[in-house]
């Protein structure tokens, strides 16, 4: 249970409370299905009144999400989910607002709203379905497509440097960032719970597979054979260990993160970094966010969850204090304030 200004449900909720009557139309095998499962798992756990959940999305395969969960919801226009959600949350801070968005929706057409909602630290949760492709429009490259990729619009390979989502989020002063693979529902569910618990903009980047247009784009991280060596599961307060037998760890060497083997070359357990997701200074969080193959593993789980004031709270506080300080209590008072003239 999470306690904040959002009303808690009086009854125990279950998965069924959130299943929508709409046919789910994602391709069979699409990574989005697992994300939906995780949401159905986590909403009853979070425990808010079911009418106080709200989904907002833009346009894309991922943005169909609101139709598939039984909550209040708006399926918006391409790129603008963050802006729509801002209005929802400001109008009613008592709602738990969730955004479903794609890599194109949030970082191409909606890039501006994305960085600004993060900068303001509005208390919403963003599920970013990063399939590194434009799914709905059938396979054009996106801002996260790896350089050189052949897609419908890059027959000779892309010549664009992709965004690293974590870098963009932390560059925009993000207070919460997590990364999860779509084939680990348990981790996804846990991370979603942590996002809900965080006051502020929580971005969850989901490494989602588009089986049709970018199949295997994350397999370097999510594949069975590689995942032990290329996934670092972060746990707050615990050393950053990975590898089949957790024999490897992350060490800070000079100004860089390095992968080391504990017990080899004089490396001891004390040399391994301990994860502190609550650290306000984003320095190490940024490094962790950018880390990845071929040399290092990809950091998964909650990378950053730092406490800063939220925009919606500050708005409420200002209104309250303005109310206390003024003589103007109604529009009639306002109309009569200042210079007025009587004609008798």
């Amino acid at each position: 249970m999470i306690s904040n200004r959002i009303l808690q449900s009086e009854q125990e909720l279950s998965k069924e409370d959130f299943v929508s009557d709409q046919m789910v139309k994602w391709c069979p095998g699409c990574g989005a299905h697992a994300i939906l499962k995780a949401i159905e798992n986590v909403f009853p756990e979070i425990g808010y009144k079911k009418e106080n959940f709200m989904f907002v999305s833009g346009i894309g395969c991922s943005s169909r999400f609101p139709y598939y969960v039984n909550t209040y919801g708006i399926h918006g226009i391409h790129g603008r989910a963050a802006a729509i959600a801002t209005g929802v949350k400001l109008a009613n801070p008592g709602l738990s607002v969730w955004i479903a968005t794609g890599d194109g929706d949030s970082m191409a057409i909606g890039g501006n709203h994305f960085i600004h909602i993060i900068r303001r630290n509005l208390d919403v949760n963003i599920l970013l379905f990063n399939n590194q492709i434009y799914g709905l429009t059938k396979g054009q490259y996106s801002p996260t497509t790896p350089i050189g990729s052949i897609t419908r619009t890059s027959p000779h390979g892309t010549v664009e440097h992709p965004f690293v989502t974590a870098g963009l989020v932390m560059g925009a002063q993000g207070t919460f960032f997590a990364r999860v693979p779509d084939n680990n529902i348990k981790m996804m569910t846990e991370v979603m719970f942590e996002a809900a618990r965080h006051d502020g903009t929580a971005v969850i980047e989901i490494l989602q597979n588009c089986i049709i247009f970018a199949d295997g784009t994350h397999s370097q991280v999510t594949g069975k054979e590689v995942r032990d060596d290329y996934q670092l599961h972060l746990k707050h307060g615990e050393p950053m260990l990975y590898g089949k037998n957790k024999e490897k760890g992350i060490q800070m060497k000079g100004q860089k993160l390095q992968g080391v083997v504990v017990g080899l070359n004089g490396v001891e357990m004390e040399d391994i970094l301990i994860h502190d997701r609550y650290e306000k200074n984003p320095g190490i969080h940024r490094m962790l966010g950018k880390m990845g193959p071929p040399v290092l593993p990809v950091a998964l789980g909650v990378i950053r969850s730092a406490e800063f004031e939220t925009y919606d709270d500050m708005v409420e506080v200002q209104i309250e204090s303005a109310r206390e300080q003024t003589e103007i209590k109604s529009v009639d008072d306002l109309l009569k304030s200042g210079e007025t003239f009587n004609v008798t």
Binding site: I59, G87, A91, S330, F341
Partner: protein, 617 residues
């Protein structure tokens, strides 16, 4: 203070205060207007700011002005040509001389007409000396030196003293118009009460100016504008932008729906954003967004969440909002989009007014996308049209575009203060908790309006969005018949609003020789010549439209009553184009001006007379 015995009564006087940006002309003009209002004159003011924030001192680009017309009858505009021009430096005289009527009074600060300033403003000789102003009554007052000497006993620096030049000039004007300085003093006390020295300087300079005017002979006759017979009540001077903001506050209070504004700054609409930012105590939530798209999208989100949601902008911003307006049409959510029009296209002339966004408001979206379009027509009635836009939008669950313009937004006039309780009630169609019959697109059979089910309410969870939906259930649909039906329903819903808006009025008879048709911000400048011609017995009428989409139900009748119809607009003929498609059987004449200027009484009188006199069109 002794009052000058000889004065002439005048029905109205137009005064313009002009000077360098830092000369305090806005303050002088405001004080003058407020004093006139306390006395009982009707008035209309218009500030004329330079486009540059701080243009170089004494240059033509740096001229700032404030025009006001005061009258003993209803005043409809700030006036075309000035009876009195107060020009504080050569640059301001140079740029404004063309607005002074022949024989008008020009008050200048003679000290400011030095060689350097004359050169900067492009004068080859001093106009105060070379006889070029002989057709005017010239008052050459040594304002700067007089201000310094009259304030010398207050022991302040020359620079500080010269800040009160505007008050010295105002004193001269107050004398010229036999204004009572007591009221002006009171306003100064209200403004500078916490800074006694500044107050003293200003009061002293004001009196000194008045006394100077009284003693010099150059002044000759002075004027007095008698009290206007205004309806009983409490009045205030209000600009269109503030009136717009307040109209929404009133609608919010009356409807019980909290107000939300999502907006991005843009001239000349920013004042609404600024005004509402100051009214947090009334609960309004103001979101200064990262761009216009976020402004409107946040408003759509707030509307879904149950707020009276508005977004304010000017032309280029409206372009950016087009796609999102479509979303509001499709989701059938209440939303008011205010467009304070300015001269376009593109960045155009941001500080100049125009009516050239009408077609964009009517048609500027993808798909069949009907939106209510209304237009305010005076600074004060912006209050009522904002209120009505909010009422229609919420009661009919549909977006409304409210058009005003820079002239209305920045202009101000007297506003008779209403009581919120006397305004028409607003009843949004809120869905009730746990209503088993609730469906997102179930409609009232009469009005075709769907219900507003607000997140947080028990038993009403539902999803809406920009994809076409089935009627009643609101599920996503690409069914061909359903799409055509839904397009019909959305159109019909908007058209039905014609039954709820007042019929079109005509100022004048139902029939006659010439019907002048106009809309939006030009009402005042057209009424003035029309009324004058009516007094002469001419068969001229005026139909000024505030409701554009839908048009009032009697519009055809109104247009049919006259031998000739002329549509006057500050654009290249947008309303006339719309009228032609709606009522193609009518023969229209058109008069279009697109110079960033309002219509002038002179040009219209001449035009109307000619049209009345000629037989054929």
């Amino acid at each position: 203070m002794t009052k000058k015995a000889t004065f002439k009564n005048k029905e109205s006087v137009v005064i313009k205060f002009v000077g360098d940006s830092g000369d305090g002309m806005q303050l002088a003009g405001t004080l003058f207007s407020d004093t006139a209002a306390v006395f009982g004159n009707d008035l209309f003011t218009f500030p004329d700011y330079p486009a540059e924030i701080r243009a170089p001192h004494n240059t033509l680009a740096g001229v700032s002005g404030f025009q006001v017309q005061i009258g003993s009858e209803k005043i409809f505009s700030p006036g075309d040509l000035c009876d009195i021009l107060v020009a504080m430096n050569p640059a301001s005289l140079k740029t404004n001389l063309k607005w002074v009527r022949a024989g008008g009074i020009i008050v200048t600060d003679a000290d400011a007409f030095n060689e350097k300033a004359l050169e900067k403003s492009g004068y080859e000789s001093n106009p105060l000396e070379d006889g070029s102003l002989d057709v005017y009554r010239l008052v050459k007052a040594p304002v700067s030196s007089m201000t310094r000497s009259s304030l010398s006993h207050l022991k302040v620096s020359a620079r500080m003293a010269e800040r009160s030049r505007n008050m010295m000039a105002l004193g001269i004007v107050s004398f010229l118009l036999n204004q009572d300085l007591d009221a002006t003093f009171k306003f100064l006390e209200d403004k500078f009460g916490s800074r006694p020295q500044v107050l003293e300087l200003n009061k002293t300079a004001l009196s000194a100016g008045y006394n100077f005017a009284e003693t010099i002979e150059a002044i000759g006759t002075t004027y007095k504008v008698p009290k206007a017979s205004l309806k009983k009540g409490t009045y205030r001077n209000i600009s269109g932008n503030v009136a717009t903001a307040w109209g929404f506050l009133a609608a919010s209070e009356r409807s019980g729906r909290p107000l939300f504004l999502g907006s991005y700054p843009i001239t000349p609409a920013t004042e609404i954003l600024i005004e509402l930012s100051q009214q947090k105590a009334l609960g309004v939530k103001v979101f200064q967004a990262e761009d216009e798209i976020a402004g409107i999208c946040s408003a759509i989100g707030a509307s879904y969440a149950g707020s009276l949601a508005i977004t304010t902008t000017s032309g280029p911003g409206l372009s950016l909002k087009s796609e999102a307006i479509g979303l509001a049409v499709m989701t059938e959510l209440p939303l008011v989009i205010v467009n304070v029009q300015r001269a376009g296209p593109s960045t155009g002339m941001p500080t100049k007014s125009e009516q050239s966004d009408l077609l964009q408001a009517l048609y500027g979206r993808n798909g069949e996308c009907p939106v209510i379009v209304m237009a305010a027509s005076t600074p004060a009635n912006c209050f009522y049209y904002a209120y009505e836009a909010a009422k229609i939008s919420m009661e009919h669950m549909t977006p409304v575009i409210l058009l005003t313009d820079g002239y209305l937004g920045n202009g101000s006039e007297l506003f008779r203060i209403p009581q919120v309780a006397d305004l028409p009630p607003i009843n949004p169609p809120l869905a009730k908790a746990n209503d088993e019959n609730y469906k997102p697109y179930r409609r009232d059979p009469e009005t075709l309006v769907r219900q507003w089910a607000i997140p947080g309410t028990e038993g009403l969870r539902h999803r809406i969005g920009g994809l076409e939906k089935t009627d009643i259930y609101g599920t996503v649909s690409t069914d061909p018949q359903n799409h055509q039906m839904m397009i019909g329903i959305r159109e019909e819903k908007v058209k039905k609003i014609a039954e709820k808006i007042p019929p079109q009025k005509i100022t004048g008879e139902k029939t006659g020789d010439l019907l002048v048709v106009s809309w939006g911000g030009t009402e005042g400048s057209i009424l003035t010549p029309v009324k004058a011609l009516q007094k002469e017995g001419k068969k001229i009428g005026h139909a000024h439209f505030n409701h554009i989409m839908p048009l009032p139900i009697n519009t055809r009748e109104v247009l049919q009553g006259y031998r000739k119809v002329i549509v006057c607009e500050l654009n290249n003929g947008q309303f006339v184009k719309y009228l032609k498609t709606e009522f193609p059987e009518i023969k229209y004449l058109q008069y279009n001006k697109i110079q960033g200027l309002p219509f002038f009484t002179g040009e219209l009188t001449e035009l109307f007379n000619k049209l009345i006199e000629t037989e054929q069109t």
